[in-house]
Symmetry: none
Subunit: 428 residues, 2 copies
């Protein structure tokens, strides 16, 4: 028997369309990745009767409910009371939670608003999931053989709590109910090909797997982060599942490489900046970036890599043209050109004392610039004796062109670093 | 009597988190903008029994259902059959729809796949909403006093059909049922106070409104973008609703200002960088930024403001300490300090030839630096003769501290610009 999980996201702002339900989407993805069935999701507003009704509906057609949101410290945070009503029990204030919440504020040198005490209220019979990132504790509430998990609506708190306490409890319930297949997946991260080009490259294999029952391939368009190719396998145990994924990965990589070239830059959670960092560390080189159209996006992606200080010197955001001339040694004249990009890369390498310079200049739109249409982008690089540039034409509106420019520039650097690494060594 | 609308989005990809439910979000927004109540949304997979169950659930607690998706031409498009089962009627193939669909393909010089005939099947008793952008017709299916609208899942087709045929039908039902209200809302954007502090500042007013029936206040924690305070009013017409919101806004602003100071930086979709841009334009000043901990985040936020080139010169990402020394004139020594922040602000202002310099230096963690814990951040500014800094202690993990640092630095600049603007003019 599978445990069927229903997600109930609480918040009037979801119904009003003011925010997207990213929590439900993330939870759906996690459940699927762990082979846990989820047949229904609901959104409900901050209203006691309706939350109660949504929970009762969910419990009638699913075995476990993850209710997300409404655990905050304000008067419209009423999930705790709604769960207590569905359980048919009272709320009780837990002294240890009062202490923890008070401690959270004391550690920050602030006094606790009285409202926050509401977060110490727990339905009788529920277990508490302690908070590690905020003040709202989570809850595990048994209802006969079924269960309601309550987690905060703040994504940063919710994800941590789900991974630490909810997922394990769900998997334990599945094991207790018998029949657990182990599901493993691997994501290949690609940049530079369209979803339909990928689908075509892998098409025959995709069709061959339709009735396989063990292995599936899916394409996930991830916007500014490229297209993901997810390989999922259902094995009898962890080793079996891993073997199935590994042999499929080999096959899919070959198909993609043969038809689309070197577009796979990483796997699973590896980002393009991770791919660059890895190569810079391997050759012990430092990097500086000069950004115009991307306005700091490339630098801010690079510093997200742990340990970036070992190879990242910094950058210059040369938004005004005369900053390019004065600081980076770009010749006065057009600034959206391959020449300007190369000068920027050379200039920032010298200015910041780095081994490698990377640069990007272009037109974000909506208007053209120097007679060039929006989406015209030049990526420059200066690496040892090699100085060059790549011209790109990127689609989309202003923020999208900017984001595509950032990942494209990093991809140019990734490929250049590979080219250098694979070139024969010349001894002089 | 209000007509309560429930949205049911059909598609296994929604449950798996492979795509976000942008249709539900858009529909929620449209319903709210038109003052139509919507208390529940559901997601359900491409499974006949479960779609039937979701529709029955929706009809039990709402008066109208908009079911979105599952009208395509493939075997997993089964919404039509599920609606027929709920209505207790058969599907019948409509000859005029067969002609229309065939015409759609002929007009494009393609032959019609046989599968597409499925789209000519309509539950007995349903009215057809003709398609203007694709092949799947929409449906208006009466169930006693209630109704199910079926619209395609393709956003471009769905939005057109909703606006042309569904919205008008819903408003007509509301008018027939009496009592039409118009709903308007306004969001106050705040930075620098916790959700519970805000709730306490506005608490008495919040309580007073609970049974008001006209005006409500809600708090939305928006992570790195601060806390939003949403005021919503239900008026007899648009003017009345706007008046209710305006007078409530005045009251709420006063309560927040009195107790928490100048923490409201904008309304509705205005961002912190918009607030800064507005003030820079007003005093005709240019800005340059020097970033260490934020690594380019501030610059990349600033260039997102349309027309940023009028006031934004650019920036330096001085990630390595010696870049701070060599380029920005920071004295050799500790770089996580108020002195270093001030030197960075002064240095970048000079280097890039701007009127104002803004800087940020700090410890993103997880490890401490120069004996200071993660979250220690100094924001520096250099504006005319005024050079100064603000010390902050920010919570969270590495990316969060970095994101908080960026918006905090912009907020420091916003407040400084206001201080200068409100200071008495000294003539020398």
């Amino acid at each position: 028997m599978l445990v069927r999980v229903e997600i109930v996201a609480v918040g009037t702002e979801l119904l009003l369309g003011q925010i997207a339900d990213t929590n439900g989407q993330w939870l759906g993805e996690q459940l699927a990745a762990n082979g846990i069935a989820s047949h229904f999701h609901q959104h409900v507003g901050d209203n006691h009767e309706r939350i109660v009704l949504a929970l009762r509906t969910a419990l009638a057609r699913s075995d476990a409910v993850i209710v997300c949101g409404g655990l905050g410290p304000t008067q419209d945070d009423i999930t705790r009371a709604a769960i207590a009503e569905v359980m048919g029990v009272a709320l009780e204030r837990r002294a240890e939670l009062v202490d923890t919440i008070r401690g959270f504020f004391e550690a920050r040198g602030r006094s606790m608003p009285a409202n926050n005490l509401l977060q110490a209220d727990v339905p009788h019979g529920a277990r508490v999931i302690d908070q590690r990132r905020g003040t709202a504790p989570g809850l595990i509430c048994p209802l006969g053989q079924k269960v309601v998990y309550a987690v905060p609506g703040v994504p940063y708190e919710m994800t941590e709590m789900f991974e630490r306490a909810v997922l394990g409890d769900l998997l334990e319930r599945e094991r207790a109910a018998g029949a657990r297949a182990v599901i493993t997946s691997r994501v290949l991260r690609t940049w530079g090909a369209s979803e339909s080009a990928l689908a075509e490259a892998v098409g025959d294999r995709f069709d061959a797997l339709i009735d396989n029952g063990r292995v599936t391939i899916a394409f996930l368009a991830s916007g500014i982060e490229g297209i993901k190719v997810r390989i999922t396998a259902r094995g009898d145990d962890a080793t079996h599942a891993a073997e199935l994924v590994a042999s499929e990965e080999q096959l899919v990589r070959r198909l993609i490489n043969e038809q689309l070239g070197d577009i796979i830059f990483g796997v699973d959670a590896q980002s393009m900046e991770d791919a660059v960092a890895h190569r810079l560390l391997a050759r012990d080189s430092t990097l500086a970036v000069a950004e115009s159209i991307t306005g700091g996006l490339i630098a801010s992606r690079l510093v997200n890599v742990p340990g970036a200080s070992a190879w990242f010197r910094g950058g210059v955001v040369s938004y005004a043209s005369d900053v390019k001339f004065a600081l980076l040694g770009v010749a006065r004249g057009p600034v959206v050109s391959g020449d300007a990009a190369e000068s920027m890369a050379r200039g920032v390498r010298t200015l910041l004392g780095a081994d490698i310079g990377l640069s990007v200049t272009g037109v974000a739109g909506p208007n053209e610039q120097e007679g060039q249409p929006a989406g015209t982008v030049f990526v420059g690089f200066a690496m040892d004796e090699r100085v060059g540039h790549v011209a790109l034409r990127l689609p989309g509106d202003r923020p999208r062109i900017r984001a595509y420019s950032a990942i494209s520039a990093l991809d140019v650097l990734r490929r250049e670093l590979d080219r250098v690494a694979s070139a024969p060594t010349v001894t002089t």
